[in-house]
Subunit: 143 residues, 2 copies
DNA sequence: TTCTTTTTGATATAGTTTATCAATTTCAAA
DNA sequence: TTTGAAATTGATAAACTATATCAAAAAGAA
């Protein structure tokens, strides 16, 4: 049994529910993906080229987008590229980012999460995930 | 005197401090920009094409990036395009995004903003800006 | 006005992601 | 196990966004 049995199960269920097929490539890409916190399609392409030189870039893109639909990944536009975040690694923490030195502090705040739910409900939405990033200066950079 | 005298002043000061010149195009683009909460370069290109058909797309990009440097605008990667947010528009709004149909609802929540400040202060940060995106399904896509 | 520097518009280029399509693979049914 | 319809893949073309290039035009100080 694989180390990633749970996520593999989520993927298989998604595939079944959408008349999609379980392939060697999808298994390979999921295994590689779950080892990362986040990765770009290009990075994964080069990383997997060693294991399977014939794995095409288009397949990587298609598969990572599939993972997003299955709820295993989350796309995030960063600079000019798209980062695919590993949702299972992520937990529920948000980020404080210092624009001076690049320092990143993770935090969790239940009250904020509760208010987010409130806003969503008020607008008829059901939240599956979210992203909160606070940009500013840390104490050292402010001086 | 223009309706956007304050922002025009900020731009002119930035231009002077950087040996840049005040041009008809920069004035035109700033006027159009300040009427929006946020806009893409492409949208602005089409919008201004009616007033000045010869205004090039490259100039729009250059100028919007200039506004970012002057602190008048803020770039935000959204979907495949870059949104240029109007900073002078005080009520910073956040986004509810439907992963089913792509529908986007803007919202504002003072309580959330207050809690964000709290978190930042606790960690020694001073927030200059933030990004909050809630992903989920709208009422129509849930059914 | 003159002259130097910056800017502009048109377009080429770079870089990322998606579309296309013949060949291959999957998987359920026979 | 074999068959066959449907989905997937790999290679590559195409679409798209944003930046680079460069001759011509405009800005602004002298």
């Amino acid at each position: 049994m694989s180390k990633h049995a749970k996520e593999m199960g989520i993927l298989k269920e998604h595939l079944e529910n959408h008349q999609l097929k379980f392939t060697r490539q999808r298994e390979l890409i999921l295994d590689a993906f779950l080892k990362q916190e986040h990765i770009t399609a290009e990075e994964m392409y080069h990383q997997l080229a060693r294991k399977d030189p014939h794995l095409g870039l288009a397949t990587i893109y298609r598969t990572l987008n599939l993972f997003c639909e299955a709820g295993l990944a989350q796309a995030r536009h960063f600079g000019t590229q798209t980062q695919y975040d590993n949702v299972s690694h992520k937990g529920h923490h948000d980020h404080l980012i210092c624009t001076g030195c690049g320092k990143i502090v993770e935090f969790e705040n239940c009250d904020i999460e509760r208010l987010q739910e409130e806003v969503a409900t008020k607008n008829g939405f059901t939240i599956t995930t979210h992203r909160l990033e606070l940009y500013g200066l840390c104490s050292r950079c402010r001086h």
